[in-house]
């Protein structure tokens, strides 16, 4: 690796920082995060300039730091107020508060036309290294989630984000890592990796099911219809069945192991965390009032049920209009809850 190429990538970071300098984010703390990235960019630049004949390890570290800043910027870029799926992110933040501290912030990218969670910025090694070498301490950790741009305002499809949040929680607490090492240590390396991949998907499915019930199954069955088992994913039908078993409380060895691992590593139970709500308001074309967070999560399931079952008066509504109506009702219902919560949090006690 040539030091001049490392420098080239460093200058690319500079341009990126300039391009997003005035952006406003859904989470105001991200402005400070961006300032720290700018400080890090300057310090890395100073180090690149000061090394007359850098070693292979030094160049590799500088490359990693360029990547660290770039990855942060890629996600910040799409996490501005008008680009992020604001209401859904709010719901995910409520779920997140069950499992992680407020230093973890959800950010998203639209650069890839698919859903995924990227754990790249999660490792504490970045922050240990940067703090030790450059004296810069990042108080926040970004949770990198990818969502297709056209899906941002689609609240029914947004349930997939709960699955991606599940991958984050798994990575943060090393739930399925621990499970595999605890129960499958005798397997060979590749078999262990495959098993780990499958358990990670099962965990993310069950994690989502805690909050949005069976709704993820509808999207999964569409996206990966009857896909067979692969190295990275279990067979789709096995995943669908497992979610159904989890929601109906049936025993299953995989579910039992995931419940055990979750409780051992987090102290929390893998269990249903949403409460059914009435769809009467929706059927009158008005947003639903939700009283608490578990009812808030249930909005997604209620929206899905309306779309799938089309009770009166929606049985006479054209699909294109119904699609707009349900998404609007979900958006307004979440938004109302957000306003109400903020109001109650700041209201003086009587």
């Amino acid at each position: 690796m040539d030091a001049k190429v490392v420098q080239l990538y460093h200058e690319k970071v500079a341009r990126h920082l300039k391009n997003i300098a005035g952006d406003k984010y859904s989470d105001e703390r991200l402005v400070e995060h961006r300032k720290l990235l700018n400080q890090l960019y300057i310090k890395v630049g100073e180090q690149i300039s000061s090394l007359s004949s850098p070693s292979k390890a030094e160049l590799n570290n500088l490359k990693l730091l360029n990547e660290f800043i770039s990855t942060n910027l890629n996600y910040l870029e799409d996490s501005t107020l008008n680009l992020i799926p604001y209401e859904t992110i709010y719901c995910l933040e409520q779920a997140l508060s069950d499992w992680a501290s407020t230093k973890y912030v959800l950010v998203n990218t639209h650069q890839y036309n698919t859903y995924f969670f990227d754990p790249k910025l999660l490792g504490e090694f970045w922050y240990d290294y940067i703090s030790s070498v450059f004296g810069i301490d990042f108080p926040l950790r970004l949770i990198q989630i990818s969502i297709p741009k056209q899906d941002v305002p689609d609240y029914l499809l947004n349930v997939i984000l709960y699955h991606e949040l599940g991958h984050f929680v798994d990575n943060l607490h090393r739930i399925t890592d621990g499970l595999i090492d605890q129960h499958y240590s005798a397997l060979g390396k590749e078999a262990k990796r495959e098993k780990k991949n499958h358990y990670a998907e099962y965990f993310a499915d069950l994690f989502a099911a805690q909050y949005v019930g069976n709704t993820l199954n509808h999207t999964l069955d569409y996206i990966a219809h009857e896909d067979p088992s692969s190295f990275t994913h279990p067979a789709t039908n096995d995943r669908l069945t497992l979610v159904k078993k989890f929601l109906s409380g049936n025993h299953d060895d995989i579910i039992d192991k995931l419940k055990e691992a979750t409780e051992q590593t987090t102290g929390l139970k893998l269990e249903k965390r949403c409460s059914p709500i009435s769809d009467d308001a929706f059927k009158n074309y008005i947003p639903t009032v939700t009283e608490n967070v578990s009812e808030l999560h249930s909005l997604f399931e209620t929206g899905w049920n309306l779309w799938l079952n089309r009770p009166e008066p929606f049985d006479k509504v054209e699909a294109d209009r119904l699609y707009m109506v349900i998404n609007n009702l979900l958006e307004k219902s979440i938004s109302n809850y957000m306003v109400k919560s903020k109001w109650e949090a700041s209201a003086p006690s009587v």
Binding site: G123, D128, S132, G178, K189, K196, A261, Q264
Partner: protein, 101 residues
Amino acid sequence: MFFAEKRDINSTRLYLSLLNDLLEQGTATDDKARIFKSIIYDAKSVIDNEKNYYKISRNIYPIVVYLANEHADAFSEISKENITTENLKTLKGLLEEAVAV
């Protein structure tokens, strides 16, 4: 490569850089030795069956599992209560081996 993920290798490389700096300038009693003492402590605890995999510190999990699974012998003489500079040097050698491609 023994690690499942590229990020495990990257994390090990960065920690290795910090460990090299530490060993050039300080000892096991240095504040900066904290992370590396945790790695040794957790690996030794797993090897001695005092900790299961669910109880390993999350941030250093891949390194600890690697050490416990692949290098248990290197920990037979190590005392968790008295982790020395020599122990850190041993760790350095094992981590260098881990990231060598």
